[in-house]
Symmetry: C2
Subunit: 330 residues, 2 copies
């Protein structure tokens, strides 16, 4: 197992390097710079590049090569970054990954345009890798972008709504987060195979992984170490966001706990000093444990889809990736 982990890390690092090299070239010499400088700024902000990696590893698992889907991988990363730029505007976020957000650095108008423009460029990259004239891939890509917008819209709705059920919350994150991971996997498969079963399995893997990933994000927001995570811990509580943890706490809390949570929702947030108290409460109520359990369930559900892949070694890596992602600390 240790050996497999090390091998995965090596391959991941090698392909990440390829992705970064390609990203560094996207906007080179493109004009006007007022549009392409912010585009470079956001795209070069690093990170795990999870979505393009899923495209690469899915294609590999489906029996294809990394090189067949490298442009498609860039395409999903472009879409992801479009959502980051626009979401940051909507959330009034000042920073992302310890750097200024695009609207904060370049202004609102440049940020709107930068996000917009990443979309057609993403389609252009996707098209480069579609060799079999398969328009279904473009359709799949479009559908995911639409669903992500719908998810973001639901997330906005929830902010002002008094009550949100856990079922509704899950629907929201399945749209806002999981749909893009799902699509990252399915287009990787679609480009290299026509086997619908394989495509469907990788799609399901991506969706369940996406759910696990978002719940993990909710958990990390409360529990993570500040410097590793690059955000203020408890940021979701401070902003009064109705996360999986908060909605769970709301279900199981009684007495003073319940009163405190309701006050948080009513006041739409708490002070930074109160985060510790809420963290303690969430642990005491079993909310943290329950969230961890849910993450494991989704991770298992994701992994279950990986049987019978044309390339078993590659599928093993996707399994390893799911395990590592859901155990991550940042």
């Amino acid at each position: 197992m240790k050996q497999k982990e090390a091998l995965l890390k090596n391959i991941y690092r090698r392909e990440l390097n390829e992705i970064e090299k390609k990203i560094a070239l996207i906007f080179k010499r493109m004009k006007p710079r007022s549009l392409y400088e912010p585009s470079e700024f956001i795209m070069k902000s690093g990170g795990k590049r999870l979505r393009p990696m899923l495209t690469l590893f899915s294609a590999w698992s489906a029996g294809g090569k990394f090189s067949s889907v490298m442009n498609a991988a860039i395409a999903v990363e472009l879409i992801h970054n479009f959502t980051l730029v626009h979401d940051d505007i909507m959330d009034n976020a000042e920073k992302r990954r310890n750097r200024l957000t695009v609207h904060n650095k370049y202004g609102l108008n440049a940020a709107i345009l930068t996000g917009d423009n990443l979309i057609p460029i993403a389609y252009d990259y996707l098209l480069k890798d579609i060799k079999n004239n398969n328009l279904e891939i473009v359709s799949n890509f479009s559908k995911a972008i639409r669903i992500v917008c719908e998810g973001q819209s639901l997330d906005e709705d929830f902010e002002t709504r008094k009550e949100v059920s856990i079922r509704e919350y899950k629907e929201m994150i399945s749209k806002k987060t999981a749909a893009l991971l799902e699509m990252s996997c399915s287009i990787g498969a679609q480009i290299v195979t026509e086997d619908k079963t394989i495509i469907r399995k990788l799609e399901n893997y991506g969706r369940s992984l996406g759910m696990a990933f978002q719940l993990q994000d909710d958990l990390l927001d409360l529990m993570a170490n500040e410097t590793k995570f690059g955000k203020v811990p408890g940021g979701d509580l401070i902003e009064g966001k109705k996360t999986f943890l908060l909605l769970n706490a709301l279900e199981s809390a009684r007495g003073k706990d319940l009163k405190d949570i309701k006050l948080l929702i009513k006041k739409r947030g708490i002070a930074q000093e109160e985060v510790g108290q809420f963290r303690e409460m969430f642990i005491r109520l079993g909310v943290v444990e329950n969230t961890k359990k849910q993450i494991k369930l989704y991770s298992k559900k994701a992994i279950k889809n990986l049987t019978g892949m044309p390339n078993e070694e590659a599928a093993d890596f996707l399994k390893e990736l799911a395990l590592e992602l859901t155990a991550r600390e940042n």
Copy 2:
């Protein structure tokens, strides 16, 4: 000639009706309503529907049927409306066609998301009409969206720049306005024919028409009748926009005229009461005449491309359309 005009009007009205019926159904029953109500609001705001009409008439001229490109026509209208919603945010516009702008009615976040989401939906509509698996059409569509974003970015740049040449201004409008009209025509052709010459001709027609159309818009902003145009006359001057007219005036003005124009640029606008004085100056300097001349030149250039079309009757309508558009008063 009168008979042809009447026939064109009839066909235009009939197809406009089809377009409107289709538009009314796009967002029906789609959820969440927080996303799709503003989408309906902007898409149902009427207008000439010039871009979808160009798609229909181009396909017809290239020997195809209206019904083959009806979805593609909707696609270009969706893209046009995406640009309207986001441009209105960037311009701080309160109203459009005598109604509230989307961000004014639904808020900034809803407006950003509404615009975003129109893009993937537009691709979906386009894909419905691509029967020959021709990915070049998707690529053409993407390219136009990117160029429109670049044009809008240039337009933003010009606002804060002291000097803009007429050549630069033309480049900007060729991207911001003409690129979309060009693409509306070329995809109409691409869907129904593989004849590159025909496609190229209709593309060129659309581009030149787009230039004429934008210059006409600049002219109408100053000269049009308020109620017909639905905007305050001289709005561009009030906002200090560097339009074709202003840049031309700047070239030919001397003495007090020149001083007044430079002050307008420095102060980034004038009071509504001063519009009349500037209109008079622009007429006196021959700027209005010169703009009319340019519009005619682009219109002629557009029409020149219409020879040798598979359907000459349809091409005649495109010619008529160009003549009417460039003679329009609103």
